[in-house]
């Protein structure tokens, strides 16, 4: 069902955890589907210096969370805002059709975290 890349990110998720005093926090969730995703950012000079996630969700949800953190790390926030759901799914070599809404969540959570950063830091 899942690609090797998905299973790799699922079984060895990158950047799991929380950041104390994060510059931006984004949470998206859909209790009925059961995905809740939280992303924490540390930003310096508009660059994402650290990023962590916590996710309640299926294999795809965890893998997309992990992948999005890897993709966003080191990018400027404007670059990170360009990251799309499709790009995350593609980076994982694709997701099963019925799971595509999970990949939406990962990019959404990142965008929420950046939005939160901009609001709180007036950027």
């Amino acid at each position: 069902m899942y690609t090797e890349k998905v299973m790799d990110h699922f079984s060895n998720p990158r950047n799991v955890g929380e950041i104390d005093n994060a510059d931006g926090v984004g949470e998206v969730g859909n209790a009925s589907c059961g995905d809740i995703m939280k992303i924490f950012l540390k930003v310096e000079d508009n660059v994402i210096k650290d990023i962590k996630f916590k996710t309640f969700g299926c294999g795809a949800a965890i893998a997309t969370s992990s992948m999005v953190t890897e993709m966003a790390l080191g990018k400027t926030i404007d670059e990170a805002l360009e990251l799309t759901n499709a790009a995350v799914a593609e980076a994982l070599d694709g997701l099963p059709a019925q799971k595509m809404h999970c990949s939406n969540l990962a990019a959404d959570a990142l965008h929420e975290a950046i939005k939160n950063y901009k609001e709180t830091h007036g950027a």
Partner: protein, 386 residues
């Protein structure tokens, strides 16, 4: 890698005796039982023997057994065949919110055709209320359809009592016994059922064969029209090998019922007890005592079912989940929903279903691996605060 199969409610391995019995019917005895020549005669007896074996397990007459292709076909036939045959009598069906989709989606399809369906709710243990059932009966009621044992939680319904109520009001009674057969005693006479469905692959027979008990005198419109097979009740060339396998599986199920149920129950209880002791914040779903002996459904707070399944799978442990994300639908299990299990707990509900082959070592291994997996997933969860 060790492989531990705790998903016997999804499907079972074909038992060796069953496969052995089936093998001659693919090449040597390949005839069509409806044929009059040697090739047909050689297999017609085998089909009738299978029918007798099924009948014996259910305590009915062989003429009351009709072979079908699976549990889903049986349920569709039971319900749609009743609706068609009893059109003049009424259009109301009483069922429960926790039936298998083969019943629920059939009822929903019939609603669009003008049937009225009462879906009985269940309490926190997944149990229906017989008073509510009785009160729902009207003079338009043509069918009560209540499963014998629930596939997700294992909760066993009071089939004899329901049968007595159905009898009292002269309403036809169908039970989906796909999960019950082979795990608890199933006697259609005692239970007063008119229609009962079972599926081969849940009891060590192959996939692609099942049976429906149709009480003598129960008027049914066929679901499959065509040839004269099964005394005009189910058209289609007989799945001879499958029927032979189903017969042997029923024989084995009958002979080993008590012993096998006791063994599964002991191991299931050990698993439940072990999880309770080692993992905090869990919830066992289903009725505490009126439960299939092989089924344990547990919710692990803060984690999602599919990711648990995948982690178990990486250790070679096969289980199943009521999580929406597993099934590809958007809603978590309708059974958990009906029991009013908190939606997040519903997403984490995980089913371990044992089989006759399950060993003590299997259970020990699960108890050894599970706690660390749960802890790791909880550490990843935004809902868990430690």
């Amino acid at each position: 890698m060790k492989r531990i199969y705790l998903d016997n409610n999804a499907t079972t391995q074909v038992r060796p005796e069953v496969l052995d019995a089936m093998l001659p019917f693919f090449r040597e005895q390949f005839g069509n039982p409806s044929s009059v020549h040697w090739a047909g005669r050689a297999v017609a007896g085998a089909v009738e023997k299978g029918r007798e074996q099924v009948a014996k397990l259910l305590n009915c007459s062989p003429a009351e057994v009709v072979f079908v292709s699976c549990g889903s076909e049986g349920d569709n036939f039971a319900i749609k065949g009743t609706v068609e045959a009893l059109r003049d009598k009424g259009n109301h069906i009483i069922t429960t919110k926790v039936e298998h989709p083969a019943v629920l989606n059939t009822c929903q399809a019939l609603e669009k055709q003008g049937c009225r369906i009462t879906y009985l709710g269940v309490d926190a243990d997944g149990m229906i209320d017989l008073k509510e059932l009785e009160a729902a009966i009207t003079d338009q009621t043509i069918l009560i359809s209540v499963m014998w044992g629930n596939n997700e939680t294992g909760t066993l319904f009071p089939i004899e009592e329901i049968g007595a109520i159905a009898r009292k009001y002269k309403v036809r009674f169908h039970t989906d016994a796909v999960q019950a057969v082979g795990k608890v005693p199933v006697d259609v006479q005692k239970a007063n059922v008119d229609l009962l469905v079972l599926s081969g692959h849940k009891i060590g027979a192959p996939k692609g064969v099942g049976a429906i008990y149709i009480r003598r005198g129960t008027k049914m419109t066929p679901l499959l029209h065509g040839g004269h097979q099964e005394r005009n009740r189910r058209a289609g060339t007989h799945n001879v090998a499958g029927i032979v396998g189903l017969g042997v599986a029923c024989d084995l199920a009958g002979a080993q019922l008590e012993e096998c149920a006791a063994k599964m129950k002991r191991l299931r209880d050990k698993l439940e007890q072990g999880i309770r002791e080692q993992v905090p914040e869990i919830k066992v779903n289903g009725h505490p005592t009126l439960r299939l002996p092989n089924t344990l459904n547990v919710s692990f707070a803060y984690i999602e079912g599919e990711s648990l399944l995948l982690n178990l799978d990486m250790k070679g442990i096969a289980a199943s989940s009521g999580s929406a994300c597993t099934s590809g639908s958007l809603e978590p299990s309708h059974v958990m929903g009906a029991m009013c299990v908190d939606v997040l707990l519903a997403h984490s509900s995980t089913r371990f279903s044992l089989g006759p082959e399950t060993t003590e070592e299997d259970i020990d291994f699960v108890l050894q691996e599970l706690p660390a997996i749960i802890e790791r997933l909880r550490q990843m969860s935004p809902l868990y605060n430690r």
